[in-house]
Each structure stands twice: as C-alpha cells, then as structure tokens.
Symmetry: C2
Subunit: 433 residues, 2 copies
C-alpha cells in the first residue's frame, strides 16, 4: 500500500512531537507500506516569519512618517512604504514563509534517520510542484512524481515540505493558509497513492462542533460533497481546496488523530446506500454579517450593479435574498464575512442606487448561520420544513433561509446560535449513531 501521511503544525510543533511523528511513520513503513510524509511548519513558525516581515514594514512606515508625509522621495530617497499586495513583496513573503516547512521536513527526516530508517526530505524545487496564480495563494497545476517513486522504490521514506511550489519562472510560491492539506492530497493524486491520511489534533470529522454540541459524534465516513460544505462552513478540519482535489482526482482521504491509531473519518465518494443518511452534520458560522438595502428601485440591472461592485472588490457574498417587488420597489438582503463589512458598506456608498429616494442601508453583525448538510437531501424532501419546526419549537426566529442541493442554511440572531445548533443536531438525530 502506498500512503501519504500529512502532519500539521501542532503535530510537528516540538522536537518531541517530531520524534513521535518519525516513530509513527517508520512503524507504518515497517508494517509493509510505502510512505510519503507531508509536513507543515512547526506550530507558530509561519506566524513568526510573517511577524518579521510585518515588523520590518513597521520600521519602514515609522521612518517614512518621521521624514514627513511628503508623497515624493525625500533627500534620502525614501518613498511611501509599498502596499502589502504588491507582487514583488508577495514574492518575498512567499520565499520567506516557505522556509518554515523546509525546516520541519529536514527535522522529521533526521528523526526518522535517528530511528534507523532511510529518509530524504524534498522541498519546493526538488518536489517538482508547479503552480499558477499569485505568489502567496498559488494553485498546483502539476507534480513530478518521478523522483518520489524512485526514492520509494529504494525503500526510502520521502518527507515533503508542504504548502509550497514553484511557478514557471522558478520562483517560490505558497498555497495559502492550510496549504499543506492541499499539498498532501495533490501529491497523493500525482503518485496515485492508495490513501491520503490527514493526521491532526482531532479524532476526525464530527456531526457538529463538540465544544458547542456535547452530543456531537465522530463520523466514520462522509462524502466529498458534504465535506466541502462543512469545510466552507467553518469546520476547520481540512482545507477546502484539499477536498476539491480529493474529489476531482478520487483520492481516498482519512482524517485521523496524530497521537493515537484509532480510525478517524474517511472522506469517500457518494454511493447509493448513503442516501439512507439524511444529514451528515450541522455547522455554526458566527463570522458573517447581514446587509439589507430597503426600497431599492426594482429596475433590471439595479441589483446586478450592487453585486458586480462587490465582486470587483473581491468581497465574497454568501446568502442573497430578494423580496417580491411592491410598487416597483424591492428589499435585498445578503451576508458577507464580518471583517469585510466596512469595505462592503463603503462600496455600496459609492453606488448610484443608494441615492434613490427611500433607499436605506441596514447592517447587522450580530447574526449566526447554521447549516444542515447531507447528500441524503438530494432524494429526501422536508429537511427545511423540519428545521423550521425544530427552531420554532425553541422559539428561535429565522431571519434568512437559503437552500442548495445538499444544504439548508438559516440565519438567526447571534445569541440563539448555539441553542439552534444543538436543537438541530439533536432534532435530526445526529447524537445517536
């Protein structure tokens, strides 16, 4: 069996833990498997590196301010500090951050050697991970599997630095936060691994957040589609792009705990008998805010212009609801990430739309979104209705609803969020296997 084992930052966060990782990897190899390891940076290391860049930038900013705010270069040639989204800066940031995984890959490989195993660490240019897109949020387009297979053939454990690749110019790129998950799944696809294990500090994927819902239960299996919905809803177990990769290339993924050997959750393709399970999990998202524009003129293109402007600024709109028109006027309500709320209202403020008489802009950050996810919804009706009745029974008012093929999301007042989550979790019988 050919397996990819991915260990996150916490699992390699200390030298003792690195030693434990090495023992686990080596035991797996000695049981007869071929093992490729993918590691994140030691916990805290990526932040330390980013903080170096931030502190350097702060010095530049302070010095510039001390030499007055003149927009042109002063006598020493100082100009205003660059914007952080400058491509040259992003390139250096990526070069800087990618060292974190290089360090942990070398240390894990050493630890395996210390245990008597044969091990080689591979970093960016040695891995042949080619990427496209921006320096710090690149997408993997291809992986050269040849060297990895040659090493595995020789009985060597291959330890890969996650999170990084090279663009076509040979410049170091990084895959964005949580990118090591994507590295692992993409590698597993490239080398046609039998399984990609994501070893982490939880037992697997739960029916809900156990810190909020005491009766939450670990799932033995979950479909790619359900995992995608849950990952995008703030279930931080697995990066969303990793799930997309797994689905696209049909990579069996196994999320399990790095500190013990019990089975975790397998992420699998959908099969017919799964429809028996109506709901896989419920998730709570407190990071959105609600925006309402009332009395908008209901003329073709008016509402479109609103979302065009938001799209241009890269603001991701989640739920959108528009009422039926009354007297040529309509209300539109949508949600955006809370930390984009200010940019959202600024963008709206620049629209002609808001100058129309009677148009009012309302915002509310005190909301919670609860989502019920399950592929069984494809063939079973009535999930939304049941959710409404569960919430009504608890006296929780529903502010917004949106449904998709395998998901029902409701927005409620933030203070009712946890109550609603628990009620729906138990209402759909998730606490009892």
């Amino acid at each position: 069996m050919l397996v990819v084992q991915k260990f996150g930052g916490t699992s390699v966060g200390t030298l003792e833990r690195i030693r434990t990782v090495a023992e686990r990897v080596l035991a797996r190899q000695r049981s007869g498997d071929r093992v490729v390891v993918v590691v994140s940076a030691m916990a805290g290391e990526t932040n330390r590196l980013i903080e170096l860049a931030n502190a350097l930038h702060a010095i530049a900013h302070a010095q510039h301010a001390a030499h007055n705010g003149d927009p042109g270069p002063d006598s020493k040639g100082w100009v205003a500090p660059l914007k952080r989204d400058d491509a040259g800066f992003e390139r250096e940031l990526s070069q800087l951050m990618s060292t974190g995984e290089k360090v942990s890959a070398a240390l894990v490989s050493m630890a395996i050697q210390d245990l008597g195993g044969a091990s080689v660490s591979l970093v960016g240019h040695q891995l042949g991970v080619t990427t496209q897109g921006s320096y710090t949020n690149a997408r993997i387009v291809s992986i050269d599997a040849e060297r990895i297979h040659a090493l595995l053939d020789a009985g060597t454990i291959v330890v890969c630095a996650g999170f990084q690749g090279l663009d076509e110019a040979g410049d170091v790129t990084t895959l964005g936060r949580g990118g090591s998950d994507t590295s692992a799944v993409a590698l597993a696809a490239a080398i046609v691994a039998d399984e990609c294990e994501i070893l982490t500090d939880v037992d697997g994927v739960y029916t809900s957040d156990p810190r909020v819902v005491p009766s939450a239960r670990k799932l033995d299996r979950i479909t790619h589609e359900e995992m995608l919905e849950l990952a995008s809803l703030g279930s931080k177990v697995l990066q969303i792009r990793a799930v997309e990769f797994a689905m696209k290339f049909n990579v069996p993924v196994h999320v399990r705990h790095s500190q013990h050997l019990r089975e975790g959750t397998r992420i699998v393709p959908e099969t017919p008998n799964m429809e028996a399970v109506l709901v896989a999990g419920v998730a709570l998202d407190r990071d959105e805010a609600k925006v309402t524009l009332t009395n908008c003129p209901d003329v073709p293109g008016t509402i479109a212009s609103l979302f065009t402007v938001l799209g241009e600024r890269g603001i991701i709109v989640d739920m959108i609801i528009q009422n039926a028109s009354r007297d040529g006027k309509t209300d539109v309500t949508f949600t955006v990430p809370q930390d984009e709320l200010q940019r959202t209202t600024e963008a709206i403020g620049e629209l002609e739309l808001v100058c129309a008489p009677g148009v009012t802009l309302l915002t509310d950050a005190q909301i919670a979104k609860i989502s019920i996810v399950g592929v069984g919804m494809r063939t079973h009706a009535g999930v939304a209705a049941k959710a409404f009745s569960v919430l009504a029974h608890e006296g929780v008012n529903i502010q917004m609803v949106s449904t998709s093929e395998i998901k029902v999301s409701v927005v409620v007042e933030e203070k009712y969020g946890e109550l609603a989550l628990r009620a729906l979790h138990d209402g759909f019988g998730l606490g009892t296997p």
Copy 2:
C-alpha cells in the same frame, strides 16, 4: 560599475540593521551602480538551526539509552542513533541550515522594496550555484549568471542567499562556515563584477589584532598571497576559500565596515612596487599544540608512517621540524590544532614506532605561534634574523621556526605570545605608516 556587496550575519542581525543594509544598497544603486547583494543568515540563526538538530539527536540518544544499549533494534524498532557524519544526515542538516540565508535574503529584499527600490531575492535553485563535494562543506563549481544579468538589466537589485548551492542531483548543499564570503566572491567572478565588497563589523584588515596590539594599523591594500597567509593564521576577516577564489579569478575584493562609508582594505594582485613593503602584518595563533617524539629510529619510512596515519584521520599538521640524526636516532616535532591533540596522541599510540626502545611522546598545548607575513620577503633577506633578534631582546625563547616564501612563523611559550606579537609588530615598524 557592477558591484557585489556581501553583508555578514551581524550586519543583518536585526530588522533595524536590515533596514540600514537596504538603505546602503539602494544608495549605491542610485549613485549609478548595478548592485548584487549576498547575505548571510541573521546572527545566531544558523546556530539556532544546528541546535534544533542537536536537540533532536539528543532525544534520540536518550530514548535509545532508556531502552538499554542493545545493539540490535528493540521491540519498538529503535536502533542506535546514527553517527553525525552520515551522508543522509548531512544532507538534511544542509537543507535545514540553508533556510537561514533564505530568510535574510527575503527580508533584505523586502526592506529595499519598502524604500521604493526594485529588488528580487534569489535562493539556491534560482541562483544556479552548482557545487561538488560533501553536503555541508561543498565547493562551488559553476554559477549561472544569466538570470542575474537579466534582472540587473531591468534595474533590479538582486539579493542572493549566501552559503548555499545545489549539487547535480538538485540537493541543497552548504559551503561551510563563512561560506557566504565564498558565495560573494564566486558570484562576483561569475558575473564579472568590477568589485566585491565584503561589508563586515571591522574597518578592514589590520597589521595585527588591535585587541592585542594597540598600535595595529588598518592596511589600505594587501595582496592575495598575504591575505591567504593571514586568513589561515586566524585573522577572521575573510574566509580563506574566498581569498583563493579572488586570486584565481582576479576578483578585486574590498573589505570594509558595514556601518560607515570609509575606505577599508583592498585585496589586490601583487605588483612590483609592493616589494618596498617588507611585512604586511603579524598574526598570533593560540589554537595549536606541539607534539614531540624523541629518539625515533631514523630509518626511511618511519617518520612518513607517522604523518600518513595523521593524514588518514584528517588531522591537519602545520609546522614540522626534524633534527639531524644522532646515533641513528632523531627527534621530530610538529604542531596540530589543539582540539585534535587527543585524537593525535591516540593515533600515534597505535603506531609500531612508539614501541621502539627510548621513544618518548611529549605534548604541549601551552604554545603560541606568531607569523610574520609579507610578499616583500621574496626579495629581501633577513626577516627571520631580525625576528630572532627582536624576540631575544625581549627575552622570549623560540621553540620552533618555520619559513615559507612570504612567511616566517615562530612558536613560543603561550604566556609570551602577546608580548612577542607586540614586539614583532613594532620591530618591523608596522605601527607607523
């Protein structure tokens, strides 16, 4: 003018200093020059990384010991920790250590961008530095100058991570301690730079160690040959391989202070008028030990076997003196690095030679070697004689003498080392320009 500026670990040791480096580099470019920067790791970073590897190894060692000293693998598969000179381990160590320079290169490049300059950092695989030899003490065999020239043509400052290269397999190699000096000079040779500046925390090369000899004077110029002798004698200003590179490829090197703009010392090829200067500098080396074998049988091959054994163990022998034979017996005295003294006596203990009747092994670590260096000695006799008379006048007994074309070295009792150094420095008129 095309210049390579190399900044050592102290010069990039803090973010404030990195900012200062960026200002200096940018000012140089704005004065009309093309600038390539080579940086070491931030002071302390290489040691931090090595310490991580050491600590990891210590854990392996402790766990192995706790599971008893059984030579075979135990129930958990543990075997004895690897020797540190294992090639696989060296490979990982190199991969680990090379991240230090990658971090400082990215930060220096960011700092230049913050000042409004155009800058790109290049690391191992992007630099095209190909090496041969061991992973952690590799030798540069070629450098691809194309990308650097293309960037310079575009008005970009190129910031290179020193100390590292790639072997033909694409594995990361490092150039040994002080390797960034060698990187800088080799890069300067490859891109045919007009000058290679070594920016450091001293004003230049001195006639002697200013901490010991208060009248020591900064030299404006020194020849490659003299610098080679001084570098090998513990004058830590410049790595010896960097000087060899500079001599071989005729790279003009300028050693100067990183914190001010005053001229430092230029390392230049020898020219005829230099012979007027008899002595360039005197150096003190307290790190050697003296070994004497008395009453050795003076048979062909006996003494050769001694130095063969030491050579096989990689022990570098410096001075060697052998007396004229008396009654078929001879005494041989030589010096080795103090920290190799124990390995030296162990090696000698295994020789047949020492079993011969009357042979006695004497060692003395309490010695100091003073060397007088100058290309003028090629054409001027009497330097050794003058040195003897200076030391005799101070009542310092000379234990050993060795001379080469441009150097006279004497060994004295360690407690007289500093006195002898000062006496010779002033005796040869080095304190007065």
